[in-house]
């Protein structure tokens, strides 16, 4: 039986808008297919894990205070995370997790919180804490090989700039910056996004892209994943896209 190993970082601190739900969904969709899914947690008081031994590294989003708390610890893990990423481990990053993998995060007071610098983008928070990108988002994606309009919920002050390869095109909502054209960051083994909701709840194609990537990487060849009954998920997304794109 195949097994997917996930390292969920800072689950006790970075869990905004149901981000932990993404783990429940990945596990659910693995187990429905007879793939075992082991989720280990890493947090401030954990021992340094072997990052490269994981198929997926997952980081959610958090309030500013929590993000400040973890940033120094995350930097301590930089080389190991970088090596895992270069070795093909999948990075799945939401909101704060997304921001912290870039060059830096400049907060509302102008202080820089250094990121891991794995990617070229950087994030600047507006000087007013009231200016936030909040609401439902719909983005058009093609990275799964098909055109899929995915739905999520964004709430971020930070404006992420210098994104070379976005995850999708914004049809409704803000995206990386206020009223921007694109949302998220994408590489073959990286999905970084501002979409909470949790992100995977209405978008089974993203879950399956991540699971499929991990299985293919283990097998060294493409394997077709067993189909699951996603009627509820698709109905859920259809209700939202119809409502949001109608306007």
């Amino acid at each position: 039986m195949s097994e997917i190993r996930v390292l969920h970082m800072y689950a006790d601190m970075l869990d905004l808008y149901g981000d932990c739900g993404n783990m429940e969904i990945i596990k659910y969709r693995c187990e429905k297919r007879g793939i075992s899914c082991v989720i280990d947690r890493y947090s401030l008081d954990s021992e340094m894990p072997d990052f490269s031994s994981y198929d997926i590294i997952y980081i959610g989003g958090g309030a500013d205070l929590e993000q400040q708390h973890i940033s120094a610890d995350l930097l301590r893990c930089r080389e190991q995370i970088k090596a895992a990423y270069e070795g093909g481990t999948f990075l799945f990053l939401i909101c704060g997790g997304y921001q912290l993998m870039g060059k830096y995060y400049r907060d509302a007071d102008g202080n820089d919180i250094p990121g891991l610098g794995l990617f070229d983008y950087f994030t600047v928070a507006p000087s007013s804490r009231k200016m936030r990108c909040i609401g439902n988002v719909v983005i058009r994606t093609t990275f799964t090989g098909a055109t899929v309009d995915v739905v999520g919920f964004e709430n971020h002050g930070g404006q992420t700039q210098g994104v070379k390869a976005p995850l999708g095109e914004v049809l409704c909502g803000n995206g990386n910056c206020s009223k921007s054209r694109y949302e998220g960051y994408y590489e073959k083994n990286v999905i970084a996004t501002y979409m909470h909701g949790p992100c995977l709840s209405k978008n089974p194609e993203i879950s399956d892209y991540i699971i499929g990537y991990c299985i293919d990487r283990q097998n060294g060849a493409h394997t077709e994943l067993a189909k699951l009954d996603d009627t509820l998920e698709h109905d859920c997304r259809r209700v939202m896209t119809e409502r949001l794109l109608k306007k």
Partner: protein, 447 residues
């Protein structure tokens, strides 16, 4: 100028009433614009103001505190309809003030929205502030949780009145340190109850000491992040409680506070905290013991908070859940009950709900015991269906009925015990749908 504004306000209130409209918020909104955002400033309030704020329990505690004074023969003004923003409070006072803006009462008892505490009480002098708890709730309206606490903390820095705080909630208790000169900070707390846990059971906020950043250490968790906590580094959490609920037995239900036994009607740990806050206010204001007794032992709710309906012959309990804590509490009550049961979950995403529904992922559905079927409804019926499915519940037993009447019909179709959970804007429509079912199919409800 003041008189003119008051006159305009009173005319609007009068006209709305003439057309049979409840003047809940609109007069305040108009005056808010006319006064440049300072719509509470024009009133002359000489009597003490007691405000109650927090995420959960505001309405209950405000009503009970009002009863303490009312039964003591005092003239009080209270925002009963829950109009708890500055504009709602302005509309309320417009109805009760004279032409010069003078408000005639012995006490103003005001439920106040968390984010509006600094707004309202920078304009009117507050005597006592009761803060119950801070949970994730409508995050996108208030910005993040920390921003909200910072706002109230900023207000507390210069506030020297009575501050009654939930000492078992680190998010709330930290306000006690905002103004080191305020000697009127009073903490209420509760001893461990039967279903308290050693480990945290539900998703929560505030894991770290807000003063030194150390992880907080807990003796026990009552629910969510409410429990006996302390910071081992700076000592945050070590304080002398003003009043403590002990010997809590929810089977009866009874609890003891300040050496006096109370027998409330509602049997949740929530209610124990709320009533302990009420007892703290009673103690502070020297309310007669028999009045406090009377208020605490008779308080019950009839507005979708553990409200009972009988659909035909199916006993049904409806409970409001604005956030995961509220929903988890209903699931606990369901689990603590033997026999099979079915759940209807009504989920809306209107503006007052906070637009976002992802909080449902913080509900611990994996604890479901003997739940045989789930019906979902509301504007986000599918979201809650997906959530329950991914918790491992067989999707074959999940039925989505976005229309509420169809959902209630579906729920009542089978025999057995029923529960209904509805979020903020869903609770009143859910009550109406349950009543419609009862009026066409028989059964009974409390009213």
């Amino acid at each position: 100028m003041n008189r003119l504004l008051i006159l305009i306000g009173k005319i609007i209130v009068g006209m709305l009433r003439l057309f049979g409209r409840n003047a809940g918020n609109l007069p305040g909104i108009i005056l808010w614009h006319l006064t440049g955002g300072k719509c509470c400033k024009m009133f002359k309030v000489d009597c003490p103001i007691i405000a109650v704020t927090g995420t959960n329990g505001k309405t209950s505690v405000t009503n009970c505190v009002a009863q303490l004074f009312e039964q003591s023969g005092k003239k009080i003004i209270i925002n009963k309809e829950g109009n708890n923003l500055d504009t709602g409070i302005c509309s309320l006072l417009l109805r009760y003030c004279d032409g010069s803006g003078k408000v005639d009462a012995d006490y103003l008892i005001l439920e106040t929205d968390e984010s509006h505490v600094p707004v309202v009480y920078s304009q009117m002098k507050l005597e006592t502030l009761v803060v119950l708890d801070f949970f994730r709730d409508q995050l996108d309206r208030n910005g993040e949780m920390e921003t909200l606490i910072q706002k109230i903390n900023g207000f507390c820095k210069t506030f020297s009145g009575n501050l009654i705080l939930n000492g078992d909630d680190p998010n709330t208790a930290r306000l006690g340190k905002a103004n080191p000169d305020d000697r009127n900070v009073k903490y209420f707390r509760a001893e461990r109850y039967a279903f308290a846990t050693d480990k945290i059971f539900e998703a929560s906020e505030g894991r770290f000491c807000p003063f030194c950043g150390e992880p907080l250490v807990y003796d026990f968790y009552q629910y969510s992040h409410i429990g006996r906590f302390a910071c081992l580094k700076c000592g945050f959490g070590n304080y002398e409680p003003y009043i403590t609920a002990s010997s809590i037995d929810l089977e009866k239900p009874v609890f003891t506070a300040d050496g006096h036994e109370y027998s409330p009607k509602l049997n949740s740990i929530y209610n124990v905290y709320n009533m302990t806050a009420v007892a703290a206010v009673a103690k502070l204001y020297g309310i007669a013991q028999e009045i406090t007794d009377n208020v605490i032992s008779n308080y019950t709710v009839n507005n979708g908070r553990m409200e009972t309906f009988v659909l035909g012959d199916r006993l049904t309990t409806l409970n409001l859940a604005k956030n995961p804590v509220g929903a988890n509490m209903t699931l606990r009550v369901m689990n603590e009950m033997n026999g099979e049961k079915e759940l209807l979950f009504v989920l809306n995403d209107n503006v007052a709900d906070g637009l976002d529904v992802s909080w449902i992922w913080d509900i611990n559905f994996s604890i479901f015991e003997r739940v045989t079927r789930v019906v979902t409804s509301g504007t986000r019926a599918y979201d809650i269906a997906v959530r329950i499915k991914c918790a491992g519940f067989d999707p074959a037993n999940i039925i989505v009925r976005p229309d509420l009447d169809e959902a209630v019909e579906e729920l009542a179709r089978t025999e057995g015990r029923k529960f209904v959970i509805a979020n903020y804007t869903a609770v009143q429509p859910a009550r109406s749908a349950l009543k419609r079912y009862i009026s066409s199919h028989g059964g009974k409800c409390d009213e």
